[in-house]
């Protein structure tokens, strides 16, 4: 008997051509359209850690909010979101958020300052005995039982991280979106937090790690999606981030890799385009060393290349 093809597990989340825009009134009645996310495509499978890496303003947090359906009401969303092979409609988002898709937020500001921490963790539980589950999870994350009775302002940075991860843990969600979970933290705490996220993936959950810290991402991620001006320019396996970046496909990923201190500290001139004046062609074209007239005319589509995905006419 021939074994069935060793296919990868089906994606739990499939984001295709996601665009998010906001209408804004500038002076008088002049309308401006801000496009923080343009044609973003990304998939994530159970048991894997996918890092979404980009500089600030690349639309990382909005991606998380779009998946959860908690964008501000004036946001316009196009594209398809599929969760476990079903369309992720606004109604499904309401049903799934918190129970099957959980967010690990950035900072202590995401906890109600006047509510005890334990109650806030328990409110994320959607089935079973919340009190028992909270005690077990606190024990697992080495949080003393009395921490449950504390208010957020009484927590240290490391305790806050563990409490925030606890909320995702207690929900039993199969997709966990960690939005910049290690901002400005001590390296031991960063390592510990990332370790917790890796453990969650080890239990068969899918973990989307949204971060600007490419080095942190490399330590636990399986694949890395590189965001530029709200679009995915490349999705590569962690193994491609090596040497001088020759295995990477997109010029921006290469530039990002080479900008790291240990890889030469090379600076690419220019900045991300302004959100209301996106270039008509490739979004990276204004800064790209490989730019040709083709690049200004049309936006490149994503295409598979060497086991990854790239959005560039010239990548080979």
């Amino acid at each position: 008997m021939i074994a069935p093809e060793a296919s990868e597990p089906k994606p739990i989340l499939d984001v295709r051509d996601l665009s998010v825009s906001f209408e804004q009134y500038a002076r008088g009645l002049q309308k401006k359209t801000l496009r923080p996310i343009t044609s973003l495509s990304v998939t994530i499978r159970p048991g894997e850690v996918l890092a979404v890496v980009g500089s600030s303003g690349s639309g990382k947090s909005l991606l998380a909010h779009a998946i959860l359906g908690i964008l501000p009401s004036n946001a316009r969303v196009t594209g398809t979101l599929r969760h476990a092979n079903e369309n992720l409609t606004p109604e499904r988002q309401v049903a799934l958020r918190g129970s099957d898709i959980a967010l690990v937020p950035q900072s202590v500001g995401f906890l109600n300052p006047l509510m005890r921490v334990g109650a806030q963790v328990r409110s994320a539980a959607h089935n079973g005995n919340a009190a028992e589950a909270q005690r077990a999870i606190f024990a697992r994350y080495r949080l003393a039982p009395e921490v449950a009775g504390m208010y957020p302002f009484q927590l240290s940075g490391g305790m806050t991280r563990r409490v925030l991860v606890s909320t995702a843990m207690i929900s039993g969600a199969s997709l966990i979106i960690a939005d910049e979970p290690t901002p400005g933290m001590h390296s031991a705490v960063v390592e510990e937090t990332l370790g917790h996220l890796r453990e969650l993936a080890g239990e068969g959950r899918a973990v989307m790690l949204i971060t600007h810290d490419i080095e942190a991402a490399l330590t636990i991620a399986d694949r890395i999606a590189v965001l530029y001006a709200g679009t995915t320019v490349e999705i590569a396996s962690v193994a491609d981030f090596t040497g001088d970046g020759q295995s990477l496909r997109h010029p921006y990923s290469k530039a990002l890799w080479r900008a790291l201190p240990q890889n030469g500290f090379a600076v690419t001139p220019g900045a991300q385009p302004v959100l209301d004046e996106l270039p008509p062609g490739c979004l990276y074209e204004p800064r790209c060393p490989m730019s040709t007239p083709d690049c200004t005319g049309a936006r490149p589509e994503v295409r598979a290349l060497r086991g990854g995905v790239v959005r560039c006419f010239h990548a080979a």
Binding site: L68, I70, G98, L103, P105, L114, A124, H126, Y151, F153
Partner: protein, 339 residues
């Protein structure tokens, strides 16, 4: 005793000592300043005392009256005399009422308390409710209506609103009496509780309607801020319903500032009650204060001023205490810093 308990008790003692010192200095300053102002008042206390009989009172009688009230003594002597009366406990004798000031104030304040208490509770409850509705429905027509209503009220003078209510409800519709605290021409034994309530309605409504605006606008803004906060965003991400968010996160974080504000607004309530009582001829402390001022009744005026100062001080003190000892961040914040 655990060290943190000792720290906490020390903090409370420091708080009490500091507040007592503030109250003492405030009262001394208020006494001296009011006395100085009254002694430079253009009103001749003897004329004011005699009133309409001014033509029938001869110079000898005037001198006798002035001597009886001690009006010829130098100001400092009068201040000392008055201070002695305060320490004695009767706060001097009111020239208008011919009673110890302390009795006049306690009787008048009881009437005012009914008025201010009703207005305080009503404006607090309705203001908070309106603020919550407006904040939760931010940007909708209901929010705009409430905001418009509050901004209009916030710019309305108390006495004008009082007159308006009088014209509409007392004169045109005849639903409420035109003034006073009890019906005219009825023996005090025969005045019923219902009579008192009927006379209380319009002045209390005047004060409450105005008090609503402040609380409502503040509550609305605070709720808008809370609903835009990161922790409400996270609550949504955790799948909490909009109602649960409003209840658990909204009310919890809005209630404390609203209650604090309501206590701190006792000064406005006291000031408003003076105007409202004047318009409705309601026999409260505010009206007595106005009479004392107009007729040069120095002991009563000073008594009322001191009483008002203490009243407002207590309101602010309660606001301070609630803020300091109910909010866990302030209750325990200092302790953790010191440990």
């Amino acid at each position: 005793m655990r060290p943190e308990e000792r720290v906490q008790i020390a903090a409370v003692l420091v708080f009490i000592a500091r507040k007592s010192f503030r109250l003492g200095t405030l009262l001394v300053a208020v006494c001296v300043l009011s006395f100085w102002l009254v002694s430079h008042s253009p009103i001749d206390p003897v004329n004011a005392y005699v009133g309409a009989d001014v033509m029938r009172v001869g110079p000898e009688q005037r001198a006798a009256i002035a001597a009886y009230w001690g009006l010829n003594d130098p100001p400092l002597q009068r201040l000392v005399n008055w201070g002695a009366a305060v320490l004695r406990g009767d706060w001097g004798t009111s020239m208008i009422f011919r009673q110890p000031v302390i009795d006049v104030i306690s009787e008048r304040f009881t009437a005012s308390l009914a008025l201010m208490g009703t207005a305080w509770v009503l404006s607090g409850v309705f203001g908070f409710a309106l603020g919550i509705i407006a904040g939760a429905r931010q940007g909708t027509w209901i929010d705009r209506c409430i905001k418009w209503y509050c901004l209009t009220l916030a710019s309305t003078p108390t006495f004008w609103l009082g007159l308006l209510l009088l014209i509409v409800f007392a004169v045109w519709l005849g639903w409420a009496p035109v003034g006073l605290g009890v019906p005219a021409g009825v023996l005090s034994d025969e005045v019923t509780f219902g009579d008192r309530i009927r006379h209380l309605v319009l002045p209390a409504a005047t004060l409450s309607i105005l008090g609503v605006a402040n609380v409502a606008l503040h509550t609305r803004q605070k709720l808008v801020d809370v609903l835009a906060s990161d922790y409400v965003l996270f609550a949504r991400a955790k799948g909490e319903s909009e109602f649960a968010i409003l209840w658990k996160h909204g009310l919890r974080n809005v209630a404390l500032p609203a209650v604090t504000l309501q206590f701190a607004s006792l000064s406005e309530l006291f000031g408003g009650s003076i105007l409202a009582e004047q318009v409705f001829a309601y026999p409260g402390l505010g009206q007595a204060t106005v009479q004392a001022g107009l007729r040069g009744d120095v002991p009563l005026l000073l008594g009322a001023v001191i009483f008002g100062a203490v009243f407002v001080f207590v309101g602010n003190l309660l606001a301070d205490i609630i803020y300091r000892f109910v909010d866990p961040r302030i209750r325990w914040g200092g302790r953790y810093e010191q440990c």
